[in-house]
């Protein structure tokens, strides 16, 4: 009984220490982002790695998800004779939920895990220590550009996903299932407003981008310097980031609706 309490106390202290460590890490990134040197060149490189290389999967998934939505939406709406609202259904679902969440999960899997793995292997091969010896702060040089890139890229990928999904829904609904093209577009545009929907999606994707960027870099930075450590960092990133995204999705949705 006593030992159980002791373990609990120990675990709590460890958790708090962990959280404190994470908070310090996040604070460091924030400071470095605002301080010179701004490392624009490295930021560009990271945007390439995170954004440009994720384009293919995001756009392809977007079109596919849009197509599925078109199909499912149509099947349900015909029961009420409301196929004309297909555009609205597809559009709202994508903009409010599927766009930001799907994009974030896809990017986590592709770029988030790569980011964690890269940093973790730099720990293993002592490259980060090498930087320290050259009086260069690894957080400033390696971590901050990566985290910033993720933050910048996520909203863009989100919107590209959404647009490709609109298109996927259009192709299925209009070309395949006979919904009128004009009706699709009009109901979509009418249903989506900037203040209610688009602003929300941008907010979500910015928040998700921040979360994934911080989680991936933290996991990589604090990885054990072994190959098992690299692997743990990578899988840990995907798991932690995915769960956190879904939790924050709920929180933002609930607060936004208020």
């Amino acid at each position: 009984m006593i030992s159980a309490l002791r373990t609990l106390g120990y675990r709590t202290v460890m958790l708090l220490e962990h959280l404190g460590h994470m908070a310090a890490f996040v604070g460091q990134i924030g400071l470095n982002a605002l301080r010179r040197p701004f490392r624009f060149g490295r930021l560009v490189m990271e945007i390439f790695d995170v954004g440009v290389l994720s384009l293919a999967i995001v756009c392809l998934s977007g079109a596919t998800v849009g197509a599925v939505l078109g199909l499912q939406g149509y099947n349900t709406l015909t029961r009420f004779g409301a196929e004309g609202s297909l555009g609205a259904v597809v559009g709202l679902t994508l903009v409010r939920e599927l766009g930001p969440v799907f994009t974030a999960l896809l990017v986590t899997g592709r770029a988030g895990s790569a980011m964690a793995a890269e940093i973790a292997s730099m720990v293993t091969t002592e490259q980060l220590d090498g930087l320290r010896m050259m009086s260069i702060d690894p957080v400033d040089f390696v971590v901050t550009p990566k985290a910033l890139a993720m933050l910048i890229v996520m909203p863009m990928l989100n919107v590209l996903f959404i647009l490709f999904a609109f298109f996927g829904g259009y192709v299925i609904g209009v070309e395949l299932l006979g919904v009128d093209g004009g009706t699709y577009v009009t109901s979509l545009e009418d249903a989506i407003t900037f203040e209610d929907d688009v602003a929300g999606t941008l907010l979500k994707s910015v928040v998700f981008g921040l979360l994934v960027g911080l989680i991936a870099t933290y996991r990589g930075y604090t990885a054990e310097p072994t190959s098992a450590g690299v692997s743990a960092a990578t899988t840990g990133t995907v798991v932690t980031a995915s769960v956190t995204i879904l939790i924050f999705d709920y929180v933002i949705t609930a607060l936004w609706g208020v």
Partner: protein, 285 residues
């Protein structure tokens, strides 16, 4: 990356052997790095207990000892990458154990480090790697930086390799490129972690010659960790044996003549049974 702080409960074993009276230190020598009373443990495993050690300026010191004895760890302590549980580390008059990371960056401008795997950034070319400290910290123009980098690469025998990526270099070349990076800012002290490991004898000789020349020409204080007995005996003005959490210090001649059984065991392990070779003179028992 700091090791969990748990004090080892064992009684300290002080095991330093001062220089025997025969060899006098010259009066002008100043110790560049001093370690005093170092205690360090990784979890429950003690690494050092009350370690005392001095590294004279402008000399080549070699750290030796069995695997796990803590050679690389000592280097990392001196580089400020790890902090000891207890003790002081004084570099050029400053105790680095009390410094913040910011201040450590300042101290490290005088120290270069050659890591075992080179630790070059694998996403950049060799040239960019060697140029990095200059680009970050000096105000030199790109043309001047180019000149400095090429000079260093030539000095380590890699004159035309700037455009290659680190993964395209052989082990020996990688070490030399990393050495070029370590010296590009003209540090006073260079720490080398196992520069000879995994290299064929010719490359070992090459790097050894390089280090000796750097020491001679530039007056660098070199601290090298090594398993490699022949090079160590050739290069070092001071050998530091890390055994049982403490250090046994002396010149190569002194240690070869040492009566400390642990030292003898180590030396003999290297050379015993080799035909026609006797590194360690027999001591009449």
């Amino acid at each position: 990356m700091r090791p969990r702080l748990r004090k080892s409960g064992k009684k300290p074993i002080v095991a330093t052997m001062r220089a025997a009276p025969g060899k006098r230190r010259s009066v002008s020598e100043v110790d560049r790095i001093q370690l005093e009373g170092i205690h360090l443990a990784f979890g429950t495993r003690p690494v050092y207990r009350a370690l005392d050690c001095r590294f004279p300026r402008g000399q080549i010191s070699v750290l030796m000892g069995g695997s796990g004895a803590g050679k690389s760890t000592l280097l990392r302590l001196m580089a400020g990458l790890i902090r000891p549980d207890q003790g002081r580390i004084v570099i050029a008059g400053e105790d680095i154990t009390t410094l913040s990371e910011r201040d450590l960056f300042r101290v490290r401008e005088r120290i270069g480090m050659l890591f075992q795997g080179g630790a070059l950034l694998d996403a950049m070319t060799v040239f960019d790697n060697v140029a990095l400290p200059l680009r970050e910290h000096s105000k030199l123009s790109e043309a001047d930086i180019r000149a400095e980098v090429e000079r260093r690469l030539a000095a380590v025998g890699l004159p035309d390799t700037g455009g290659l990526m680190p993964r395209e270099l052989s082990g020996g070349m990688l070490r030399r490129a990393a050495l070029a990076r370590a010296i590009v800012t003209d540090p006073e002290i260079v720490l080398c972690d196992e520069p000879f490991s995994g290299l064929d004898p010719l490359n070992v000789r090459r790097i050894e010659a390089l280090l000796i020349e750097l020491n001679r020409r530039l007056g660098l204080t070199l601290i090298v960790t090594s398993h490699h007995l022949p090079s160590s005996l050739r290069m070092a003005s001071q050998l530091v044996f890390l055994i049982d959490g403490g250090a046994v210090v002396g010149t190569p001649q002194e240690l070869l003549a040492s009566e400390d059984t642990r030292v003898r065991e180590f030396l003999e392990a290297e050379t015993a049974g080799m035909p026609g070779f006797q590194a360690v003179p027999e001591v009449a028992s």
